[in-house]
């Protein structure tokens, strides 16, 4: 079955708005990471968050491992936040990452 699921698939925001992206993961996955893929295709590491909450500027993430989900919060969104946000988890039987399909965020000025 699908190991990492993300929602929503697409999100359109007005500049300055806040948003929440969700990642659900199966029992076979843990040690979540969040990435931002910018419009040039580059993948940027955002958070390694197996559990708990972390914050970096306007972004924060929370993982509730016992309930198998993680949330990425974007506050006061800016046009530079546009792109695709991926979550990925480590497969328990090996160390490779299994990626979700991503959430495409478009922030309009």
């Amino acid at each position: 079955g699908i190991q990492v699921e993300q929602s929503p698939p697409d999100l359109i925001l007005q500049e300055g708005a806040n948003s929440t992206l969700r990642c659900n993961f199966s029992d076979s996955v843990n040690n979540l990471q969040w990435f931002h893929q910018n419009p040039w295709g580059q993948l940027i590491n955002l958070f390694y968050i197996p559990s708990g909450t972390k914050q970096n500027g306007r972004l924060s993430a929370t993982t509730v491992a016992t309930e198998r989900y993680s949330l990425l919060y974007i506050s006061s969104s800016q046009t530079t936040d546009s792109g695709v946000y991926f979550c990925a988890g480590v497969l328990l039987w090996d160390y490779k990452l299994s990626f979700g399909a991503g959430t495409t965020v478009t922030v309009r000025a």
Partner: protein
Amino acid sequence: EPEVTQTPSHQVTQMGQEVILRCVPISNHLYFYWYRQILGQKVEFLVSFYNNEISEKSEIFDDQFSVERPDGSNFTLKIRSTKLEDSAMYFCASRRDRDTYEQYFGPGTRLTVT
């Protein structure tokens, strides 16, 4: 903060040509990975490498692909005879040791096969 670097950022090649994509992982990391993302699709695992040998490879990683750590710093992915369907973003990642899980990704190389 240490980071993974990749060169080139964009490579255009003709079908049938060989390409080598280069990565410099974080210096004290022991585990290395290549992932691929075809345009509009998920990022998918290609191969993992540890102690100078392949640990695991996906079914995508056929005989046309090879990896090498030619010196103490570089990690390369070679595609012997490129096909149109090899066009994708290729990402290198590294992980510190057996007891850590976080993978640090490079920005990627966009490979275009014409």
